[in-house]
Amino acid sequence: MTAPTPVILTEMELDALTELVNLGVSNAAHSLRELVREEILLSVPKVTVVSREEAIKNLGERDAKRLVAVHQDFEGDIAGRALLIFPETKSLELVRAIVGSDLSLDEIVELEQEALAETGNIILNACLATMANNLGRTLKISLPEVLHGAGREFFYVKPPPFVDDNVLFSFINFSVRQRNITGYIAMLLDLPSLATLKNLLTELIERTSQTAAVPPNDN
C-alpha cells in the first residue's frame, strides 16, 4: 500500500453499486426500446474499482486498439467523468443494431457520430441519474461528446487529472437484433468523490436493510 491511501469499497458496497448501475442501464434500455422499437437488453456484470492505469490496461493499451468513447462530465457532491467505450470496430455495429439494417453503409457512417452520442447520452444519463437519485443527491450532467482514440487519451482529458484518481470500471453488454456487443462503462472519480460515494453507498445499504427495499425516487 502506497500513499495516498486508496479508498476501498467493500464487496457489499460494490454489489450495491453494481445494482445501481444495472438499474440505470435497465432504464436506459427502456428508453432505447422506445426509440428503436426493438427489444434491447443492457447488463453490467460487475463493477470494480481500479486505478486509472489499470483501466487503461484493461482497455487493451498494448494492442493500441482504436476505441470510440462517449463521455459526459458530471459535478455535484460527486464529480468526475463517465465514459461509454467501444472498440472502434464495434461502433458501426452498435449503430447498425440501434438504427436497423434498412440504411446503407454510407448512411450509417453519416449517422454514426450523432447516433453514438445520443445512445451514449441515454445510457450515461440513465446510470448517473439513477445513481444520484438513489443516493439522494443530484448531479449536474453535461452534454455528451464523442471521442476517437486510444484508452489512455480518454482518461487524460483536461481538466488535468489527479494522480490518485480511481475508476469504477465494468463491462457492459448490449443485446439487440440478435447481436451481442460488449463495451465498457467507466466512471473516473477523484479521491474525495470516491469517499463520498462510499459514504452514500453505506447509507443506502443501511436504509435498504431497514426497509428491505430500494426506496423510490424521493427527490
Binding site: 422506445e34 455535484g76 470496430t89 439494417s101 453503409l105
Partner: protein, 676 residues
C-alpha cells in the same frame, strides 16, 4: 432585471441562429426566440404558457418531454439527434421544407432548478451537403456495384458484412433477405481460405491473384467463387471489399473436359489391352467366320432362286430340235416309202420328248413345287444306260471314258434328276472343250470326315456315293468357281445357255441330302463332284427307265370315263386307252361327267382333270361316290401345287398323275389301279 436588460436579452436570444425554448417546472413555455417563430410558424405570444403538446399536437414528443423532466429533476443534459429521431418537432425551413434538427436539453442555473433550456440546432444544410457529396461520389460506384454480375460484399474489421450488392444478396442471401451484420465466414465452406483472404487484405498485403473459395448457398449447395479483396478506410473505420467472381460454369466446363479426357484415355488403354490379348484370336475367328459367311451366302442364294425357276432352259431348245428334226426325217422317209428306216427316228423323237418332259420336272423340282421322287438307286447301271446318249452328245472330237467303281454303295435319289444332272455336266464339259479333249465320268465310294464338314458346315460327315465328271477344258478361275452354282450365272454367250444348269445340279444334290463341289484350274480342266448319301437298304423293285415297247393290255370290258376339258388331251388319252383295249366314255366338264356317273353304265375307273370349269375334279368324284362308293379315280394335274394339295386328301381308291406323262406311265398307273 431591468426592462432594458430584458429587451437586450430578448434581442440576443432572437439573434441566435437556432431555436431556443425556455420551460418552467411545469414544463410550460416561458421563453421562445424569433428563430422558433419562423421554424414553427408559432409566435412567442402563441407559445408562451403552453405545454409542447399543446403547441405541436400530434407530434411524438415523449422523449423530449422526458429529457425536459430529467433536466428539471436531476440536472441531466440530453441530446436528441435527427439520426435516431427523424421526426422531432414539426419545423420547416424558410422555403417550407422539412427542417432537420438536433435538440439539446439542459438545466438552467444552480439548484434548486427552476428552468430548463431546449436548444434546436438546424442541421439541414450540413446533412444535405453531406448527402449531396456522397451521392455524387457514389453515383458511378453504385451503378457499377448494383449491376455487377460479381458478388460484392464489404466486411468490417470483425468480419461482419456491412454491405452486399444485389448479386451477393441473390446468391447468398438468407431467409429474410439480408446479409448485413452476418458473420461473413458463415457464408463460406472454405473458412480458412476466407480468413486468409480477409487477413491479407486488412494487413494490406493482398495475394495479388484471386483466391478460390467455396461459398454455401442458402439451400446448402456449394458455389465456387474467385475472391479479390481490397482495403479501404472511412474515417477511423477500415473495411475490406471483396469481389467474388462466379466460376461455377467455368469449373463445370473444365471438369467436364477433364472427365472426357480421362474417359478417352481410359478407353484407349482398355482398347490397347484388348487389342493385345485378342488380336490373334480375332484374326483366326475372322478368317473362319468369313468362310462360313460365304457358305451361308451361297446356300441363301440357292434358297432364293428356288422360287424363280419355271422358265425355259437352254436345253429345252436342244430337245425340241431333236424332236422336230426326227419328225422331219420320219416325214421324208415316209414320203420316200422307206418305212423300215422310220422307227429309228421315232425312237429318237420320243427320247427327246421324254427328256423335255423330264426337264420340266427338273425345273419344278428345283423350284420345290414338285417333290422329288427319290428311291434307292444303283448309280452304275443308270450311267451305263446313258453311255450311248452321252457319246452322241459329245461328238467325235472328245474322248469319252466311263470308270464305274466295283462295289459301289446304293444311294437314294430321283433317277431322272440324276440323269439330267449328269447330262448337264457332260454338256458343260463338252462346251468347255471346243477343240476337243478328254471327258471322264467316274463313280466311287467316298467318306467325308469331320475335318471336311468343319470347312463345309452344310455337309453332314458320313459316307457318300461320288460321281465325278472331269474334262480337260479351259477350266475356271477361283472367282468363277465361286459363282458357278449361282442361278443364271453363265460363261456362255447370251442365248446359248440359261445359266440354270449348275445351280439346278447344286439344288438336286442338296435336296438329295448331298453336296456338289467344283475343282478347277485355268487351262487344265475341271472336275465336278456330286456326293449323294449312301443308302443302307435294298432296292425295292427294278424301276429303271421305262421301256417304251412294253404294252399293257386291258382286261375284258373294263370301262374308263375320261373327264377333261382340253379336247386334244382328252382325245389323246382316249386313243391310248383304246389301244390298250379299254372301253372309254368321255365328258368335257363336271355336269356331263355326273350324268354318266348317275347312270347304270359300268365304270371301272374315272380319269379326271382336277382343274375343270364349273365343278372341279374332286367335287365330281365326291358326288359320284354317293352312288358308287368304291369308284376308282385317277386325278390328273398339270400343276404340281395341286398335286401337293391333293396328296393330303387322297382317299383309298384315288391316285394322282402329273402332266405331262408318258403313255407307258399312264398305262402302268391304270393297271396298278384296276389290278392285273
Amino acid at each position: 432585471m431591468t426592462t432594458d436588460e430584458r429587451i437586450d436579452q430578448k434581442q440576443v436570444l432572437d439573434a441566435v441562429n437556432g431555436g431556443l425554448i425556455l420551460f418552467d417546472l411545469e414544463r410550460r413555455v416561458v421563453g421562445w426566440n424569433a428563430w422558433m417563430d419562423t421554424a414553427s410558424g408559432h409566435s412567442e405570444a402563441e407559445a408562451r404558457g403552453k405545454l409542447l403538446s399543446e403547441i405541436f399536437p400530434g407530434a411524438d414528443l415523449k422523449r423530449l418531454v422526458f429529457a425536459i423532466q430529467a433536466a428539471l429533476t436531476s440536472r441531466s443534459s440530453t441530446i436528441l439527434t435527427h439520426a435516431l429521431n427523424p421526426a422531432l418537432l414539426p419545423l420547416k425551413t424558410r422555403s417550407q421544407r422539412p427542417l432537420l434538427h438536433d435538440i439539446t436539453v439542459s438545466a438552467v442555473g444552480t439548484p434548486p432548478i427552476k428552468q430548463c433550456l431546449v436548444f434546436v440546432n438546424d442541421v439541414t444544410m450540413a446533412t444535405r451537403r453531406e448527402r449531396y457529396l456522397r451521392d455524387r461520389q457514389n453515383a458511378r460506384y453504385d451503378a457499377v456495384v448494383a449491376n455487377a454480375p460479381d458478388l460484392i460484399i464489404t466486411v468490417d474489421r470483425d468480419g461482419l458484412v456491412q454491405f452486399a450488392n444485389p448479386a451477393a444478396l441473390s446468391q447468398l442471401g438468407r431467409a429474410g433477405g439480408t446479409l448485413i451484420g452476418v458473420a461473413a465466414k458463415d457464408l463460406f465452406q472454405t473458412k480458412d481460405q476466407w480468413h486468409s483472404v480477409l487477413q491479407s487484405a486488412f494487413n494490406n498485403s493482398s495475394a495479388g491473384h484471386p483466391i478460390d473459395l467455396i461459398a454455401q448457398r442458402p439451400d446448402g449447395t456449394p458455389s465456387h467463387l474467385e475472391a479479390s479483396a481490397s482495403l479501404w478506410a472511412s474515417g477511423a473505420n477500415n473495411f475490406v471489399t471483396v469481389i467474388l467472381r462466379d466460376v461455377n460454369e467455368r469449373r463445370a466446363i473444365s471438369e467436364a473436359l477433364r472427365k472426357s479426357e480421362t474417359d478417352a484415355r481410359d478407353a484407349a488403354v482398355a482398347l490397347s489391352e484388348l487389342n493385345q490379348t485378342l488380336e490373334q484370336r480375332v484374326e483366326e475367328r475372322t478368317a473362319r467366320m468369313m468362310q462360313m459367311e460365304e457358305e451361308l451366302r451361297q446356300s441363301q442364294k440357292m434358297e432364293a432362286i428356288g422360287q424363280l425357276t419355271g422358265g425355259i432352259a437352254h436345253d429345252f431348245n436342244n430337245l425340241l430340235q431333236g424332236i422336230t428334226g426326227s419328225l422331219d426325217l420320219v416325214k421324208k422317209r415316209a414320203m420316200q416309202g422307206r418305212f423300215n428306216e422310220i422307227d429309228r427316228f421315232i425312237s429318237g423323237a420320243m427320247a427327246s420328248a421324254n427328256r423335255a418332259s423330264a426337264l420340266t420336272h427338273r425345273l419344278l423340282a428345283f423350284s420345290r413345287r414338285q417333290p422329288l421322287a427319290p428311291k434307292p438307286l444303283e448309280v452304275n447301271p443308270l450311267l451305263t444306260s446313258m453311255e450311248e446318249l452321252l457319246r452322241r452328245t459329245l461328238g467325235e472330237r472328245v474322248v469319252f471314258e466311263m470308270v464305274t467303281a466295283g462295289g459301289l454303295w446304293l444311294t437314294k435319289c430321283d433317277p431322272n434328276q440324276l440323269e439330267n444332272a449328269v447330262l448337264n455336266l457332260v454338256i458343260n464339259a463338252r462346251d468347255a472343250m471346243p477343240d476337243g479333249g478328254k471327258l471322264t465320268v467316274e463313280t466311287g465310294n467316298s467318306h467325308l470326315d469331320n475335318t471336311y464338314s468343319t470347312v463345309h458346315p452344310e455337309i453332314e460327315p458320313g459316307q457318300y456315293v461320288c460321281i465325278s465328271v472331269t474334262d480337260t477344258g479351259s477350266g475356271m478361275s477361283a472367282a468363277t468357281i465361286e459363282k458357278a452354282f449361282e442361278p443364271f450365272f453363265t460363261t456362255k454367250p447370251i442365248g446359248t445357255g440359261t445359266g440354270l444348269g449348275l445351280s439346278m445340279i447344286y439344288g438336286f444334290a442338296k435336296q438329295s441330302g448331298g453336296h456338289a463341289k467344283i475343282y478347277s484350274e485355268l487351262g487344265q480342266g475341271t472336275t465336278v463332284k456330286l456326293y449323294l448319301p449312301r443308302f443302307r437298304g435294298k432296292i425295292e423293285q427294278d424301276e429303271l427307265i421305262p421301256d417304251l415297247s412294253e404294252i399293257y393290255n386291258a382286261h375284258t370290258n373294263e370301262t374308263v370315263l375320261v373327264v377333261e376339258d382340253e379336247f386334244v388331251v382328252r382325245e389323246l388319252i382316249v386313243e391310248v386307252l383304246k389301244e390298250l383295249g379299254y372301253s372309254t366314255l368321255e365328258a368335257d366338264d363336271g355336269s356331263a361327267a355326273l350324268k354318266i356317273l348317275d347312270s347304270k353304265q359300268r365304270i371301272d375307273l374315272v380319269i379326271s382333270d382336277i382343274g375343270l370349269p364349273g365343278l372341279n375334279g374332286r367335287q365330281i368324284i365326291d358326288a359320284a361316290r354317293e352312288t358308287r362308293p368304291s369308284l376308282k379315280v385317277l386325278f390328273m394335274t398339270g400343276y404340281a401345287e395341286n398335286a401337293a394339295i391333293a396328296a393330303g386328301f387322297l382317299e383309298p381308291g384315288m391316285a394322282m398323275i402329273t402332266k405331262p406323262f408318258a403313255m407307258d406311265a399312264l398305262a402302268t398307273r391304270i393297271r396298278d389301279m384296276l389290278g392285273k
